[in-house]
């Protein structure tokens, strides 16, 4: 993981909090991950795990009044994005080098703007090559065809398109400037299963063709298995396990939370009588447990888990933050 010449993104110890009137929500608590060019990383976790906050922090589109990045670096092509001034972020990076695909295509598109204009907008503001309006139109047409929509439909408004088509438009908006990194935030959660299959197949194909790196945020381990090279599993604002898909899906040296996630899924191939879910609930993000954040729900919880936050046990590229695999250096807990 250290061949830095084709390293694209390196997030180190990212911490984000949301400050509400009297509460502080600890949304992301020291996330580190890295991504090479052309690679796909799956970011997996349940509601409130901090997946989306991490993604928004990378793109710096967090709500600026409440959210605050308290610590960490986000190194992208050698620059720390957290220190780049806002205007450079807007001109060189956001939408141009890093693009994002949002979850809900119904609300992610401006309802009173033609879809073609919405796709062209990013191009117009990042027009480094000084393309003529005609060239921009051509590029919009090309991108639309890339995502499988006839170019004539660029004159349509979002309400004239079906759900799947809207999500294709959202993807076209992300792709039109040919970014090097795409962050896809649950891109198919709002879609029906057959449409999901269409969209996923298309994303996979395009990503391969364009060589774009991708962070795929999802809660669906099935999608990860199909799409990703590496997987990071998040729980309560931390990455508790990270590695290649093969390592994670092999079941060796598995974090009990990961085991629980797999146990919660009914198996399609063989008949199971019972599911083995994780008992309990997500911890309150304003008041996280000490030690390992998963300890109140963990079926294999030990005394040390309640006090000391586990470090990573490393085996190849596979890293697990769990005392069961003891090797990691125990960090004293912050609280």
């Amino acid at each position: 993981m250290n061949t830095s010449n084709n390293m694209l993104l390196k997030v180190e110890n990212l911490q984000v909090v949301y400050k509400a009137r009297r509460e502080t929500v600890y949304a992301v608590n020291g996330v580190s991950l890295s991504l090479k060019k052309g690679e796909t990383l799956g970011l997996v976790g349940e509601t409130g795990a901090g997946k989306t906050t991490t993604a928004y922090a990378i793109l710096r589109v967090l709500p600026d009044r409440t959210a605050k990045v308290v610590n960490g670096t986000i190194e992208f092509e050698g620059k720390n994005l957290l220190e780049v001034p806002e205007n450079l972020m807007r001109h060189g990076i956001r939408g141009e080098k890093i693009a994002i695909i949002f979850q809900d295509p119904m609300s992610a598109l401006n309802p009173i703007m033609k879809v073609g204009d919405q796709i062209a907008e990013a191009l117009k503001f990042h027009n480094k090559e000084e393309l003529s309006p005609e060239k921009i139109e051509e590029q919009v047409d090309r991108t639309l065809e890339l995502v499988g929509i006839q170019k004539e439909r660029k004159y349509d408004f979002p309400h004239q398109l079906s759900g799947g088509m809207k999500q294709r438009v959202v993807i076209a908006i992300a792709l039109v400037c040919e970014p090097v990194l795409i962050i896809a935030d649950e891109p198919t959660t709002a879609l029906d299963v057959t449409i999901q299959a269409q969209v996923l197949a298309m994303i996979d194909e395009l990503r391969e063709k364009l060589g774009t790196a991708m962070i795929l945020i999802t809660h669906d381990l099935g999608i990860v298995a199909q799409m990703c090279d590496n997987v990071a599993i998040m729980y309560a604002g931390e990455i508790i396990e990270i590695g290649s898909v093969e390592e994670i899906y092999s079941g060796k040296m598995q974090h009990p939370y990961t085991t629980g996630l797999f146990g919660s899924l009914p198996d399609l191939e063989k008949k199971t009588d019972r599911l083995y879910p994780i008992e309990g609930l997500m911890p309150d993000p304003t008041d996280l447990p000490t030690g390992c954040k998963f300890n109140p729900r963990c079926p294999r919880c030990m005394d040390i888990c309640r006090e000391v936050q586990p470090g990573f046990s490393v085996e190849g590229t596979h890293r697990v933050a769990c005392h069961l695999y003891g090797g990691g250096t125990g960090r004293e807990t912050d609280e």
Binding site: V25, G48, R65, L281, M282, D284, P285, T286, D287
Partner: protein, 290 residues
């Protein structure tokens, strides 16, 4: 984020609303003023007897504010402070019953429209369309023109002017509530219509209805005074605020204090109703705040 508070006792939505409202200083001031106004109606006589506002004394006419006459005196030498103070009850006597009745009618018709939808709703909407095509002020004027300007008639005039808006608000609240899945659920376990209305729909609509009520109170306060001002409401010498201002018109140059104080009374009343309404709305739905 959506986790419950770890407070030892759980609060019902009502308690929660009261708690949030009590945290809002501006709205509390509004509430304090409203309570003060109600106290004035009850205890006004002890502060300054009504007699002071009636007895005429030409020698001290049109005097500016002084220690003896806080708000000055009018063209007949009557104490304006007393007149403004006792004017409170006329506004309230009109605004409260009119608002309350309008709201109750709103809830009844709204619930009927939401439950016995289609035809009843259609008819109701057409009737509302007609009433709302006439500006409320004009509707009230027409009623007063026909019936005359007594307090009772003004209540009726305000009712007719405000009912369309109340019904429309109530209707939209009720329809959105009836669309909620818990109504379907209640029906599925055998609730009769009156169960649905009284156990689910009305309790859930009350918050929003009270907000709309405070807005109505404010609007009626303004409307009543302007009716009296143009000479079609409560008429002088009754010290209704609008009537006071109507009397003050000719002295706009010589005695501006006659204009300022009743006007501030109207302003403060309407303002505090609005503040209470805003505070309630925020307390009911904290998401609207930020």
């Amino acid at each position: 984020m959506f986790m419950g508070k770890k407070s030892s006792r759980s609060m019902s939505p009502l308690q929660e609303t009261i708690y949030r409202f009590s945290q809002n200083k501006v709205s509390l001031i509004g509430l304090a003023v409203v309570i003060l106004l109600l106290l004035v109606i009850i205890f006004g006589e002890f502060v300054t007897p009504f007699e002071n506002g009636v007895k005429q004394n030409i020698r001290i006419r049109l005097q500016g504010p002084s220690a003896e006459h806080w708000f000055g005196t009018d063209a007949y030498g009557r104490d304006i402070f007393t007149r403004v103070l006792h004017g409170t009850k006329y506004t309230m006597m009109i605004a409260f019953p009119a608002t309350f009745i309008a709201e109750v009618i709103g809830i009844i018709l709204g619930a009927c429209a939401a439950f016995y939808s289609r035809w009843f709703d259609n008819i109701l909407m057409r009737v509302l369309d007609v009433f709302q095509a006439i500006p409320g002020q004009l509707l009230a004027l027409a009623v007063v023109a026909a019936l005359g300007g007594s307090i009772f008639n003004l209540v009726i005039a305000m009712l007719i002017a405000r009912i369309p808006a109340s019904v429309r608000t109530a209707r939209s609240i009720m329809i959105s509530l009836v669309g909620q899945e818990y109504i379907d659920a209640a029906r599925s376990y055998g609730s009769r219509d009156y169960h649905l209305i009284f156990r689910h729909v009305i309790p859930n609509s009350l918050g929003a209805m009270i907000v709309s009520m405070t807005i109505n109170l404010s609007a009626i306060t303004l409307q009543v005074s302007s009716m009296s001002y143009i000479g079609l409401g409560v008429s002088p010498p009754t010290p209704e605020w609008g009537a006071l201002l109507s009397e003050a018109r000719e002295f706009i140059i010589t005695a501006p204090h006659m204009i300022i104080f009743p006007g501030i009374a109207i302003l403060l009343t309407a303002l505090s109703f609005n503040l209470v309404g805003d505070g309630l709305r925020d307390a009911l739905d904290p998401r609207l705040r930020d």
